[in-house]
């Protein structure tokens, strides 16, 4: 398959390329051939309703789930056939911020953020302490390092989770529903943080979200997962002007956009085996 061979090539523009990804749980086919490209150094947002398989898609990126079909290339390396050892090596490129932070509740904030450093570096205790405080400070978290996750607010937990994801300076940052369950002010803070981190570190960001307002604030590129496939892919403006009814419904509900002008962009809802890489809108 020439398209697949082409996709497997290390690309300067795309850090992650996905072709024909399929996953079934029991009798429920969640992913039905997802094709997606993740742009290097940009904020890529995958939107979609609840139960559309966004989190499942994200878990495949790091090899937490094995697909039933298809390929995922990260920097040109196919993730699907990797064994545990290779996956562990791959995962050091990633940092992941979980929906509910997923902090270890038996450890303090400092121990949580230090965890990846203790596991993967030979730094001394003093160096680790310093690095943790610096990272927490850069996210506006001070004097909480001795606290346990249960003593923090949802927004703070999320930031601690982000600090833990960032501590090893990953190349790719995954955010699973970063603004779910936050009030509007906290949501805006998280959005600003995602943009700042992207700007400061040049990290490739992949955000899974159903919060359209937040998506339009942060995204360089938006892809919509609908019925197990990427239905639309493009820049925020393309999505705003998209004519597909389910996209319009999704975007209109967020109250951020009025549909004065609509253009159909890069749409493929056909069932045929199309592995063309999608363009930028």
């Amino acid at each position: 398959m020439s398209a697949a061979e082409d996709a497997s090539q290390k690309s300067k523009d795309y850090q992650i390329r996905i072709r024909g990804l399929e996953k079934t749980f029991g009798t429920h086919k969640v992913l039905k051939g997802v094709d997606l490209d993740i742009e290097r150094g940009h904020i890529n947002v995958v939107i979609g309703g609840s139960g559309q398989g966004k989190s499942v898609l994200m878990k495949h990126l790091m090899g937490l789930l094995k697909p039933d079909g298809g390929h995922i290339w990260v920097d040109g390396e196919d993730v699907v056939p990797m064994d545990d050892r290779e996956l562990n090596k791959l995962r050091r490129k990633f940092g992941m911020s979980f929906q509910y932070a997923a902090l270890f509740d038996s450890l303090t904030v400092e121990q949580n953020v230090a965890f990846p450093l203790i596991e993967h570096t030979k730094k001394s205790k003093a160096e680790i302490h310093e690095a943790v405080l610096a990272r927490l400070g850069s996210l506006g978290l001070r004097n909480i390092e001795k606290k346990f996750p249960a003593e923090l607010s949802g927004g703070m937990r999320k930031r601690v989770g982000l600090a833990r994801a960032l501590i090893l300076e990953p190349e790719i940052l995954l955010y699973d529903e970063p603004t779910t369950g936050l009030d509007p002010v906290a949501t805006k803070n998280v959005d600003d943080m995602i943009r700042d981190i992207s700007k400061q570190t040049g990290v490739t960001s992949v955000v899974i979200s159903h919060d359209m307002a937040s998506t339009f604030r942060i995204a360089d590129r938006i892809s919509m997962l609908y019925e197990g496939k990427i239905a639309v892919s493009g820049g925020p403006e393309d999505i705003k002007r998209c004519d597909l009814p389910f996209v319009r419904e999704f975007v209109e509900m967020s109250g951020t956009v009025r549909f004065d002008e609509r253009v159909v962009v890069d749409v493929d809802m056909s069932d045929e085996d199309d592995t063309r890489p999608r363009g930028g809108g």
Partner: protein
């Protein structure tokens, strides 16, 4: 609508195949339910064996996690000391009381120490100790790992390039396998002490006879039998508890189900294994 060669069915005739299909569907459904029992059990066995095999594999793969192992030994072993001692004491006491009253009918109450010794070393100590540990530490581990699973902490470990089986399961299995036999030794000591107290001080059995008969009849191989069993039970109960927590799903309710299964599964497994292990050990010892 079903069709017959004669055309579209209508009236009372049409209902007949419908009813038949209803019955057939029920047969299929019942058949599926019946089949689900053995396949469900096989699935559970498979899950546990797989996790056990993975934990063995990670046992010999660096990095070795001494810190988490010590923590697990503390949780399973040290923190169970008091309850195992108490239960050991009272089991020994009540057995001595029953045995004295039963043996006195034949005038053989001097054998209380020996009988108690054999029963405690071979059976009571490994079974009671593992059941206590399963109820205390097993339930705790299943709940802890279960909530770590549903709050994505296990996924978080994996994303940080740390194998969750190596970090969470292997240390616990090793700790359970090492600590349960040690606890069971302590159980033996406490039970014998409790039995001695009741038999000698309350039931006025001659202390010399109690001790001499016990020394004469209770052999090293009895203790070995008990320790072998405790080791196997310790391993089994930690694997079961970890597997139930590790594979929990479906929120708080799922964690609850996992914990219940961990405790019930451990109890049943311990007692079933006990029978077969006893059989094997007795055959080997009499060769």
């Amino acid at each position: 609508m079903a069709q017959t060669p004669g055309g579209l069915m209508s009236g009372p005739d049409a209902a007949e195949p419908e009813r038949q299909r209803g019955t057939w569907d029920k047969v299929v459904e019942i058949n599926e339910k019946i089949w689900a029992i053995p396949t469900g059990i096989l699935e559970q066995v498979g899950t546990h064996v797989t996790l056990f095999a993975q934990s063995l594999r990670w046992m010999v793969t660096p990095p070795f996690r001494i810190g988490v192992l010590v923590e697990a030994m503390d949780y399973i072993g040290v923190q169970s000391l008091l309850i195992v001692m108490m239960i050991g004491l009272f089991v020994g006491m009540v057995f001595a009381l029953q045995l004295t009253s039963a043996l006195r009918q034949f005038g053989t109450e001097g054998f209380v120490g020996a009988t108690l010794g054999i029963a405690v070393t071979r059976e009571l100590s490994p079974v009671f100790t593992s059941i206590v540990v399963a109820a205390r530490a097993g339930a705790g581990m299943a709940t802890e790992l279960g909530s770590m699973r549903i709050t994505e902490q296990i996924d978080a470990l994996a994303t940080m390039a740390v194998n969750p089986v190596q970090y969470l399961v292997t240390p616990r299995v090793v700790a359970g396998t090492l600590m349960v036999p040690l606890l069971s030794l302590l159980f033996v000591t406490m039970a014998m002490a409790g039995g001695y107290g009741v038999a000698v001080w309350l039931e006025h059995v001659d202390p010399g006879v109690f001790v001499e008969n016990a020394r004469w009849l209770v052999e090293t191989k009895d203790l070995v039998q008990g320790l072998v069993k405790a080791t196997v039970f310790g391993c089994a109960l930690t694997v079961i508890s970890c597997a139930q927590g590790f594979n929990a799903s479906g929120g708080a309710k799922g964690v609850g189900i996992g914990t219940t299964r961990a405790v019930v599964g451990s109890f049943v497994t311990i007692l079933v294994l006990d029978y077969f292990l006893t059989d094997i050990i007795l055959v080997l010892q009499h060769k």
